[in-house]
Symmetry: C2
Subunit: 342 residues, 2 copies
Amino acid sequence: MAPVTNGRALFNSVPEGFPEPGKTIVYDTTETIDLDGVSLNGGFLVKTLELSVDPYMRGRMREPTKKSYSEPFAIGKPLNGHGVGVVLRSEHSDIKQGDHVYGLLQHVQYQVVKDTNMVSKCQNPANLPWSTFIGVLGMPGQTSYMAWKEYSKAQKGEVAFVSAGAGPVGSFVIQLAKLDGLRVIASAGSEEKVQFMKEIGADVAFNYKTTNTAEVLAKEGGIDIFWDNVGGETLEAALDAAHVGARFIECGMISGYNNNGTPIRNLFHVISKSLAINGFIVSRLYPKYLKEFYSEVPPLVVSGKIQHREHVWNGLDKVGEAIEAVQRGTNKAKAVIHVADE
Amino acid sequence: MAPVTNGRALFNSVPEGFPEPGKTIVYDTTETIDLDGVSLNGGFLVKTLELSVDPYMRGRMREPTKKSYSEPFAIGKPLNGHGVGVVLRSEHSDIKQGDHVYGLLQHVQYQVVKDTNMVSKCQNPANLPWSTFIGVLGMPGQTSYMAWKEYSKAQKGEVAFVSAGAGPVGSFVIQLAKLDGLRVIASAGSEEKVQFMKEIGADVAFNYKTTNTAEVLAKEGGIDIFWDNVGGETLEAALDAAHVGARFIECGMISGYNNNGTPIRNLFHVISKSLAINGFIVSRLYPKYLKEFYSEVPPLVVSGKIQHREHVWNGLDKVGEAIEAVQRGTNKAKAVIHVADE
């Protein structure tokens, strides 16, 4: 077979504020790949099916001299992130043609992978859509499940506040909190998202753009757990509303990702209220929880006890758009790039 | 015996910035007390010997409408705080004349106490100076010992950074960290304090007023534990210098007590470095550690394995001065008001 175009979503420039499609990320079709002939060198050839777009990716769009927990993207190279693909050819002993794989994939249509530490075989006995494995069963779901288990110390009857509650992480957390018998307050940035949060069980759901967060938390009598996806003013409101002994799970601070961070003015409450504030990188929790996650969560998804929703962009050329939407919060649910059918 | 003057240190006005002797706190000698005749109503009459002046007291000098973990001081009434006294008369079944008591005492020369939840008998088999019981064996020592045990997760060979390391809390923490086999970096605000921190074992001790904290922490290669007594820029430097998985023990933020708090600009590191930030109110740790504290710490003090130092003000009329000194950091060590000899 003749070589085919291998479309790529490239990191083109470090953004100063929000990333811009066509400037921060460009779609490139100048490369081709010979699917039958490309050398595998003991690895396997993957056709990309689904790619995840996540808030943390903003932190990777930085000057490489700045250190952080995640690798910076390289200018002129494809982005990479969590994804699912199908194996077209393999020389790897553990991976066969037709297998599906999950892990860190380049944002390209086709790629040769060698490292099964980064990309591993995807088990799907319940025949769930493959996009599930970059959402509720992937890194976002793992983030919610593992950090909730590790840090929430949830007690029945307590009150949890979940920010960005309509996203893949927040919506899962709302449902975990309800399964644990908590009262749940949840915020997001549109009426549609508020509706979704109510559907999945939030007792109080509000649009933070039209309703004052501090007033809601005060009216509800304060909080015992804060799941923070946003930082900034929402975090300040949660610090003000925290009960003594409250737990703050710091998952993200997206309000500061595109403006060099937002100062927090009332951190003294960590002392005056004996707060526990735990940040985490989900991969550090894998050794403790990954097995439990894959045994407990798929049945919850199959039975509908954990619901999830996706906002799908069709085509690798839409990566820039999806990334901007996730940073601005204009995505409607878990952002998925559907790159190709099987 | 005729009534005697009962001197009192009164809270006179809510300070806007630093408290001022003669304005924020005034000494009053208008009241008298009949030591032989005053009615005890089942309680006991205490002659105050030693009173503690601590940083947290600034938080109590507020408008009573502002909520916090500690009671506000009442305008026109005596201050109160940790202290030691001797019992002159008693109608209480557990307390005898000549007993020494420790607990929350009014800042007055003589007082009738009824509540043994607030003031209890002081055991002193090693015959240590009574001021010890408001310092290394009192609330400051308990603060260091209990929070270090609860939150440090100290591992031999790790690096701890202790701010305000010459104070009663910080100096104890330095010594606990050394006993646990850690390398210790410590900061304080005078050359005399730097010298003391070196004497008690700090590997690196510096004057934050003349040496840049961030540069010291960078040069030392980062930190695993931060004991925070000060907040503000020091906390920001510690966030920048933290290793992945570092523990922050939030004991105080005195840099913000007299200026409505200092914003923290780089809290995002709590996520990017998987930090655990624990604030605490020491009384919440008493049920778990108080017995252990009183069995383990007095021998360490007697043997000299835990050293401590005091800055003594003589007389109840010096409370205002001592309080200002503690807030400005011009005290030289644990601030003690020596009210009277036995």
